[in-house]
């Protein structure tokens, strides 16, 4: 694979990956902490445990590149550079939210950062990303599109329809499957034969790559290859990253005690926390000192404080705005 590089990743990039992962983790943690206050009156699908994928993929995207995501999109939007204030305000249903209070957690959007929107219908974002890539190809604007989706979406017809079309037209799109083994509460083994989702790519004549989604460096390197391919007009790639969702399908709580998933499985994955593993790695490599880490943590916490304060003090939409934006 000609783009695959073992070249050293610059320290600044390594640190930035860490900062992005930590921002996602801390933002989601804060959402959990605040959720019980019942001021965020919308369902939240949290991505704690899956941060490395968003960070590792989006690190290669330019501001104008497109991402299309799902109901579990906070991490992707943060990694793509979206302002935390506009995300928080949207969760709080305020008029200053990214979607002016019309979308909520499941429909974050920020076209200025290449986030044309997120959909809560499983698989729905996959053809949208292919379509945006078609537009880029027709216009020759050099943009790359990324679709983020889960293993559940790989069950949908549009997944295969989109791979087919994107391969046929050699579109600048990367399909990123975050395989956390569950479609809501249905395990992958109840839904699919034991074949890697990445292997489906071969049926359409495009590369399919599987990697550990909790290892941000593995994500970073595999995504580098796929995005470079897309950017150079060589067509789409399907990336499958195995990972694990720590919280329940929806909401700030665990679903383990209630028996939705096996406790042992959950414990095993908790030992492989993407943020902690990466922290240790950076420490071992001498890239990030404890002092620096503390400074990054403090900076992010401050940003989140500001975002939450901004959201909670922002005005609500006026009832009359109900009728705006239908068309």
């Amino acid at each position: 694979m000609k783009h695959m590089t073992r070249a050293t990743i610059p320290d600044d990039t390594l640190k930035e990956l860490y900062a992005v992962m930590l921002t996602i983790r801390l933002f989601e943690d804060r959402t959990c902490a605040r959720y019980a206050e019942q001021e965020m009156k919308c369902p939240v699908h949290l991505c704690i445990g899956q941060e490395a994928i968003a960070a590792g993929v989006c690190a290669h995207l330019k501001r104008e590149d497109y991402i299309f995501s799902t109901h579990r999109s906070h991490g992707h939007c943060i990694a793509k550079g979206m302002d935390l204030k506009s995300i928080a305000a949207e969760l709080y249903g305020r008029s200053t939210g990214c979607s002016r209070g019309k979308g909520g957690s499941m429909h974050l959007a920020d076209p200025g950062h290449g986030i044309p929107g997120t959909t809560a219908i499983v698989g729905g974002c996959i053809p949208l990303a292919a379509g945006a890539a078609l537009a880029s190809k027709m216009k020759g604007d050099g943009r790359v599109s990324v679709a983020f989706f889960g293993d559940g979406a790989a069950d949908e017809g549009v997944f295969l329809e989109s791979l087919n079309f994107a391969s046929l037209k050699k579109l600048p799109v990367v399909f990123v499957c975050e395989n956390n083994f569950y479609a809501t509460n249905s395990p992958q083994s109840a839904r699919q034969p034991a074949v890697r989702i990445a292997d489906r790519a071969s049926g359409f004549g495009i590369p399919g790559v599987h990697a550990d989604g909790n290892d941000v460096i593995r994500v970073f390197r595999t995504a580098a290859e796929a995005i470079a391919r897309a950017r150079e007009g060589e067509g789409p790639t399907l990336l499958e990253y195995t990972t694990y969702r720590w919280k329940a399908h929806v909401g700030p709580n665990s679903d383990i005690e209630a028996g939705f998933r096996p406790a042992e499985q959950h414990e095993e994955w908790m030992k492989r926390c993407p943020v902690e593993m990466y922290e240790q790695r950076l420490e071992q490599q001498g890239v990030l000192s404890a002092q620096e880490r503390k400074a990054i943590f403090g900076r992010i916490e401050k940003q989140i404080d500001e975002a939450m304060d901004f959201a909670r003090t922002s005005p609500f939409p006026k009832p009359g705005e109900l009728f705006d934006d239908v068309y």
């Binding site: 959007a109 929107g117 292919a130 216009k139 017809g157």
Partner: protein
């Protein structure tokens, strides 16, 4: 913006452009073809996609020759993967294109319901108006010749039920061209439902591009005793009925809705207030249909004017049969409208 030079025709009156020297009499199919051709010519961001769109038949002639002129990237044949490719078209629209997705039959639209209803219709609202979906979907009602249950449906009511969509049903060549151009130039997802029995209709149509915005109906024939509010092919059955009724001394007003979402409530109310009687003739089934909506508007907003119960002339609540004998029993024509009008004015 390439579209700003094209004039909108928002007039509320019947339009026949006999005085316009650029107008010539052309068929409905050629009016559509001309609209698509002019859209492709006007704006580089317009492209057509559809299964068989570039075959020698050219979707009943409506896309014939366009690939030869504009190339296969902009007149794109595609897989039979309706939902996925609707998503592709929406994604392209979100990223600044103005796609026109063409389906040979309305019956294929149920394959794309997720992308049309959950995505195209919702995107503007869900993003607080920041992201628009300028997508036009053409679909054809394939009545007759034993087309049967899966090749003849008239599903406008399904789409007219969805906030965020527009649904147009041009009945005349002039409207077909203007409404299509208006839709392609507009920023909202629009379903254009055409009836294949209209394709040979002729009318004077200006060669110059012009736009009609969805949401305004037309009085096709003035009358004072009864309003016949109709859609698509049923406009012609209604006009035929009105001619019959005239011989019997009943003056029928024929309204062509042209667009069922948004629906021209003002025109419906004013016509009903004028005549006091309402027949609604729609190409779909009556139950929870477009005709029901028109009747509800009249009941809610012109109740005091009504001198007789409202009648709906629509399809019965059965799938479409194949045998021509059953087809004849299935489709109401102008005689059903005439009978209803006689009963209502007796």
């Amino acid at each position: 913006m390439p579209w700003t030079k094209i004039q909108a025709d928002d007039s509320h009156t019947p339009v026949f452009f006999g005085g316009d020297e650029r107008a010539r009499e052309i068929t409905y199919r050629n009016a559509i073809r001309e609209a698509l051709s002019q859209a492709l010519m006007t704006d580089r961001n317009v492209f057509l996609i559809g299964e068989g769109i570039d075959d020698p038949g050219g979707v009943f002639g409506t896309t014939a020759g366009l690939k030869e002129t504009f190339g296969d990237e902009r007149v794109m044949d595609c897989a039979i993967a309706e939902n996925g490719l609707t998503g592709v078209a929406i994604g392209a629209a979100i990223a600044g294109m103005r796609p026109v997705f063409v389906h040979m039959r309305v019956d294929f639209l149920p394959m794309c319901m997720d992308q049309i209803i959950n995505h195209a219709a919702k995107w503007s609202y869900m993003t607080g108006g920041k992201v628009k979906v300028p997508l036009t979907i053409r679909a054809i009602i394939g009545r007759g010749w034993g087309s049967a249950a899966q090749h003849s449906q008239s599903l406008q009511a399904l789409f007219a039920h969805i906030p965020g969509l527009k649904v147009i049903m041009p009945a005349s060549p002039y409207d077909a061209k203007g409404l299509l151009l208006g839709s392609i130039a507009g920023d909202s997802p629009t379903i254009c439902i055409e009836h294949r029995w209209l394709y040979d209709q002729k009318e004077e149509v200006p060669e110059t591009p012009y736009m009609i915005h969805a949401g305004k109906g037309l009085v096709r024939r003035q009358g004072k005793d009864i309003s016949i509010i109709s859609t698509s092919y049923m406009v012609y059955e209604s006009l035929r009925a009105a001619s019959e009724l005239e011989k019997e001394g009943i003056s029928a007003e024929v309204v062509d809705l042209r667009s069922v979402l948004p629906m021209d409530e003002e025109l419906i109310i004013s016509s009903v207030m004028k005549t006091g009687r309402l027949i609604v003739a729609d190409t779909g089934v009556s139950v929870c249909g477009v005709a029901s909506e028109v009747a509800a508007i009249a009941a809610e907003q012109a109740f005091d004017s009504l001198k007789a119960p409202v009648r709906r002339i629509c399809l019965p609540m059965t799938p479409t049969p194949a045998s021509h004998v059953l087809e004849r029993a299935y489709y109401p024509d102008h005689t059903a409208i005439v009978r209803a009008a006689r009963e209502m004015t007796a």
